[in-house]
């Protein structure tokens, strides 16, 4: 198995994939392997009893939304009963931010990688503050989920199906040049999404008031695009996955307790370690003690060469996490030391349009001791409080050591 050739193939696919946002559907209908009693979550596999506060809260909210439980107590009982199955989003070609809970009735976006023919899915972003993804499960949260399913989803679905699909890579390329890093700052991407979908939304068969509400909803949430961007990244990394002999990382994800990675040449094996807690700036009233450990599928963005790996393209976000522009530059430059390609599409204007560091190689991580740096929001450790700040966090070294050990033990490096 020639590692260099295998990696070249993985890097090629990471860069020449063609991800298009082609439609929307209900999870049970479109997400492979979805079941009525299956709940998908962010990060590597985890059982109900081990889940962190925000994730449990989100599960409770989902069960209430599904009508399978009427309140917190009965939801908890049901979740612990064994009747509900829990699996990672990643096992079903999906990715969702923060707690990342996806249940059968939820509407999802559909991303198609037209170059390699694979699909990916993600849920729809509810907004900021007290949301399901932060573990909130109040009546308001559940009602909003119903509105999204009953009102917003059909309209968006119709709009998307009117279009030929939105070239999401082209959108992200533009947003990178407009100050987004596409993980912590998605403002430009969201605006561009509205630009593209607006022309179709205004033509769909629906109540004007309802359509207006959809615009209002999206415009009020600058992070709306993050889910879709994550789905793009999932569609790209899935295409680069399962290349025998390749040491390129194709998944990075966290469930609020553990951080997990998967490597292209190592199949579906997860390599996990306790998740680190991000360090950064806090919203007024919150401190480091309030923060939950790292959580969410959103570092699929860094896995694809954007997000924290494009920090120098988003100086605004560095301030947001407590750093300076110089920090952004040096953090980004450091990532070139652990990646194998300079992205042919995603460019950093202030680096004279140098491509972003793309394709983390576990060999380089072990060689340098430098860990992938992720730019992320922080959730409150108690369910339902919401985001408490934003910061920087690294993937744990142990994940990469475990991957190397596995590769050697199974003779997959030969």
């Amino acid at each position: 198995m020639d590692r260099k050739l295998a990696n070249e193939e993985a890097l090629k696919r990471l860069q020449d994939s063609e991800p298009y946002l082609v439609g929307a559907g209900i999870a049970l209908d479109v997400v492979p392997g979805m079941k009525k009693n299956l709940i998908l979550h962010a990060g590597p596999p985890i059982t109900w009893d081990k889940m962190c506060g925000p994730m449990q809260g989100a599960v409770i909210g989902a069960l209430i939304y599904e009508g399978m439980a009427k309140d917190e107590a009965s939801a908890r009982k049901l979740a612990a009963s064994g009747e509900i199955e829990f699996e990672p989003n990643h096992h079903h070609q999906s990715v969702c931010p923060m707690a990342g809970i996806m249940s059968a009735s939820m509407p999802v976006f559909i991303m198609e990688n037209k170059k390699y023919g694979n699909f990916s899915y993600t849920n729809m972003n509810e907004g900021l503050g007290k949301c399901l993804r932060f573990g909130a499960f109040s009546d308001a949260v559940v009602e909003r989920l119903h509105w999204m399913t009953d009102v917003m989803y059909p309209l968006i679905k119709e709009a998307l199906e009117m279009s030929d699909g939105i070239d999401w890579k082209a959108l992200v390329i533009q947003s990178l040049q407009m100050g987004d890093d596409n993980h912590n700052r998605n403002r430009a991407a969201t605006a561009l999404f509205v630009k593209y979908i607006g022309q179709y939304l205004c033509k769909v068969n629906g109540d004007k008031e309802k359509i207006a509400k959809v615009f209002e909803f999206i415009n009020g949430n600058e992070h709306f695009a993050i889910n879709i961007t994550m789905a793009m990244c999932k569609a790209i990394t899935d295409a680069a996955h399962n290349i025998p002999g390749s040491t390129i990382v194709t998944t990075m994800s966290r469930n609020g307790v553990e951080f997990g990675i998967r490597v292209s040449g190592l199949g579906d094996e997860w390599f996990t370690a306790p998740a680190n807690t991000p360090i950064g700036l806090f919203f007024p009233g919150f401190t480091q003690e309030d923060s939950n450990p790292d959580i969410g599928d959103s570092c699929i963005t860094e896995t694809t060469g954007i997000g924290g790996f494009a920090m120098a393209a988003a100086p605004a976000i560095v301030q947001f996490v407590g750093g300076t522009y110089k920090d952004a530059v040096s953090y980004t430059k450091e990532m070139y030391e652990i990646t194998r390609a300079e992205n042919k599409n995603f460019k950093i204007p202030t680096f004279d349009f140098r491509g972003t560091p793309t394709g983390i190689d576990i060999v380089k991580v072990l060689e340098t001791g430098i860990l992938p740096r992720i730019n992320t929001g922080m959730a409150h450790k108690d369910p339902g409080v919401g985001q408490v700040g934003a910061g920087l966090v690294t993937a744990p070294m142990d994940c990469f050591k475990k991957a190397a050990r596995y590769m050697v033990e199974k003779g997959l490096n030969k």
């Binding site: 040491t247 576990i362 060999v363 072990l366 060689e367 340098t368 001791g369 430098i370 070294m397 990469f400 050591k401 190397a404 050990r405 590769m407 050697v408 490096n413 030969k414």
Partner: protein, 57 residues
């Protein structure tokens, strides 16, 4: 077959790893030189270094 003599008469292009003064001195004499921001292999993590050797075989 490469010979030591091949370097004689050529412009030196120097990579300096360690004491920065050596690099500063070269630059002062207009010799092409670059300083590496060196850190121990695997960040000083012996276990990582060993696993890497095993992986690379």
């Amino acid at each position: 077959m490469k010979r030591v003599n091949d370097i004689f008469g050529k412009d030196l292009k120097v990579l300096n790893i360690g004491l920065e003064q050596f690099c500063i001195d070269l630059k002062e004499q207009d010799v092409t030189a670059i300083q590496m921001d060196w850190r121990p292999p695997s960040g000083g993590d012996k276990e990582a270094a060993d696993l890497l050797s095993a992986l690379l075989g």
